[in-house]
């Protein structure tokens, strides 16, 4: 017989009582000795699945592990960044091609990476290096309604929640620091961080319910040629 699932409480109850964030981490039965599956679900304040939330997970035990740098692409399609959010390990390069017939001038003045890049049609540009962790907000100096984010992370486990608001990764047993981020979050940053122990189970679940409603999503369907 398996041991009963126990409620993981760190800030979970505090979150419940203060109206901040609800955290339920249920640790299941014992699994393989090597590790377990970490499953994280993110819900909006009204209980709907939050797709596209960025999850970063860092182990608290053992030597710090850095993710391998990668090469990513953020294209410009129909006067919009495609995709409009990328999570990349620190040290990665990102290429910004322009598939539009019009020129773009992308920029960031975020402390994690300040840069500006004119993107004329059909002309390739060298990729941009991201050597510092943080959120990089991208805009276009010609098209004010263009907006995108790059999350540069040193966490060995990262990703984005799927349409059901879920994300999972296979991790060794141990203690982990989980951080949730989304461009439209209004919760305090401190309420979006959790510690979690993956113990003698084959699966660890963490459900995060936001305390505050999201900011409104960017408007869609508005012609790009209109004044912003």
């Amino acid at each position: 017989m398996r041991p009963p699932a126990r409620l993981f409480r760190t800030k979970a109850i505090a979150g419940l009582t203060s109206g901040a964030l609800l955290v339920f981490a249920a640790l299941g039965a014992a699994g393989p000795a090597m590790g377990a599956t970490l499953v994280i679900n993110v819900q909006t304040s009204d209980g709907h699945a939050l797709a596209g939330a960025v999850i970063t997970v860092r182990p608290l035990d053992g030597a710090p592990r850095k993710p391998a740098a990668m090469h990513a692409v953020m294209d410009q399609v129909d006067r919009a960044f495609e995709p409009d959010l990328l999570v990349v390990p620190v040290g990665s390069t990102v290429e910004f091609p322009n598939s539009d017939s019009v020129s773009h001038q992308i920029y960031s003045f975020s402390p994690a990476r300040r840069f500006q890049l004119p993107l004329y049609r059909g002309k390739p540009y060298p990729p941009v290096h991201f050597e510092q962790t943080g959120v990089v907000t991208l805009g276009c100096n010609i098209h004010d309604d263009m907006l995108a984010y790059l999350v540069v992370t040193d966490a060995p486990y990262f990703g984005r929640t799927n349409q059901s608001g879920g994300w999972s990764a296979d991790v060794p047993r141990g203690r982990y620091h989980v951080v949730i981020w989304h461009p439209r979050l209004r919760d305090n940053a401190a309420d979006l961080e959790r510690e979690l122990t993956v113990g003698d189970t084959d699966r660890a679940d963490l459900t995060l319910r936001l305390a505050k409603a999201l900011e409104p999503a960017p408007l869609t369907g508005r012609p790009h040629s209109w004044d912003y």
């Binding site: 019009v102 003045f109 500006q116 907000t137 805009g139 100096n141 408007l219 040629s225």
Partner: protein, 405 residues
């Protein structure tokens, strides 16, 4: 020979490169009109809409060519040329022509500079290319007046704090303009009053028929003294959903000035405008604009002022390729000194429009516009004091070019 061929191919390469870099757009807007209105201001009448009863039938709405050329990374040039065919003496004119300097934002702030001829930042309705309204054909009374008489011929600087690009919900901006050649602004308002039209006076163009009352071919774009006009405004945005704009304009004309050759008078015009535009989910848009000002002339032995005021509220809903809009306008021009030649106008208007964007190239708009007005000047020239004018237009617009997509 070889050298000449090389030079020629180099020149061709440069031309093709620069042509490729320019974004261009051509559009042709034709109208089927049914109107019971008085003759419009361009036809020496006091009608309050663009087409009068004699104009019912097929009309040219607008033929437009726009060019935007990048000049290096930070500068661009924009030219907007149109033909309107409203009894115009010059068939083609530029409604806007300017250079723009757009450096990249630094530390959350962005600076922009415009030089040339362009609209001051007042309208929240005319946000489509060519300073057109995507919510219908006829502009509000406020924006129609700007289209007819007001243009910045000078420079405008704008400084914005881009809060939405640094984790905040708001952007804030301040704008200042210095301009000349707008000392005729006010002449149409004082003589004709407000109207609801979409005919934009080309820069340095004339309004009305020369020598024919009431406008006598008025020239809004005049400079008679050495004073530069100024305006200053603020703008605040909440995400991409709400825009609030306030602007104070003063053309600083010396109202005692008269041009010795043309007898044109300087119109000292000031106004304050304020507006808000709210866009929500499901394609809803609400716009409200308000404008309050005064224009004054003081030729020898005379001092006349016309306070003016207009406001409107617009409600629109975009459903895919369909847009339904309704607008209510109110406007008033007053002069307390009838004995000296002043007059007044008072009115309100309802506009209902349906637009079908069939493709990026084809657009169809059906618009019904009814204006109810009382006008001292109209009665003074033998017309009725009170008038109800109704104009129905079907517009078919075709656009093409590299900027269309």
């Amino acid at each position: 020979m070889m050298l000449r061929a090389t030079a020629l191919s180099l020149a061709l390469l440069m031309v093709s490169t620069s042509v490729r870099a320019a974004d261009w757009e051509v559009s042709l807007d034709t109208r089927l009109v049914n109107s019971d209105a008085d003759r419009p201001f361009m036809d020496a009448g006091l009608g309050t809409v663009r087409f009068g009863r004699n104009d019912s039938g097929l009309q040219l709405g607008r033929a437009r060519l726009a060019l935007t050329q990048q000049l290096g990374e930070l500068w661009s040039a924009h030219l907007d040329v149109s033909a309107w065919d409203n009894k115009d003496r010059s068939p083609v004119g530029a409604t806007e022509a300017y250079l723009q300097f757009r450096p990249y934002p630094r530390a959350g702030y962005r600076f922009r500079l415009k030089a040339g001829a362009f609209y001051p930042p007042v309208s929240l309705e005319n946000r489509a290319p060519g300073w057109e309204s995507p919510y219908g054909l006829s502009y509000s009374a406020i924006d129609s007046w700007l289209a007819v008489e007001v243009r910045t011929i000078g420079m405008e600087a704008q400084l914005e704090w881009l809060g939405t690009r640094s984790g905040h919900l708001f952007d804030l901006g301040v704008t200042g303009g210095v301009f000349g050649w707008n000392e005729g602004a006010g002449v149409v308002l004082a003589n004709d009053g407000f109207s609801l039209t979409d005919r934009q006076t080309p820069v340095f163009g004339r309004v009305g028929q020369p020598g024919v009352a009431p406008l006598l071919g008025a020239e809004p774009f005049l400079q008679l003294d050495h004073h530069a006009g100024v305006y200053a405004g603020v703008e605040a945005r909440y995400l991409d959903r709400v825009v609030v704009r306030v602007l104070r304009y003063d053309n600083r004309a010396d109202p005692t000035q008269i041009d010795n050759v043309s007898n044109a008078i300087a119109w000292d015009t000031t106004f304050t405008s304020a507006g808000v535009r709210v866009e929500g989910d499901n394609g809803w848009t609400v716009i409200a604009q308000w404008l309050d000002g005064k224009t004054t002339i003081a030729p020898p032995g005379l001092q006349l002022s016309w306070p003016f005021r207009a406001e409107y509220a617009l409600l629109s809903r975009r459903l895919g390729r369909h847009t339904l809009s309704a607008r209510y306008d109110r406007f008033q021009v007053d002069s307390g000194s009838l004995a000296q030649g002043g007059g007044w106008q008072d009115g309100h208007a309802w506009t209902a429009a349906y637009t079908f964007n069939a493709s990026v190239h084809w657009r169809f708009t059906l618009e019904w516009l009814r204006v109810l007005s009382s006008s001292y000047n109209r009665q003074d020239l033998g017309g009725p004091l009170l008038a109800t004018e109704t104009q129905l237009q079907l517009a078919i617009r075709y656009a093409f070019g590299s900027a269309i997509r």
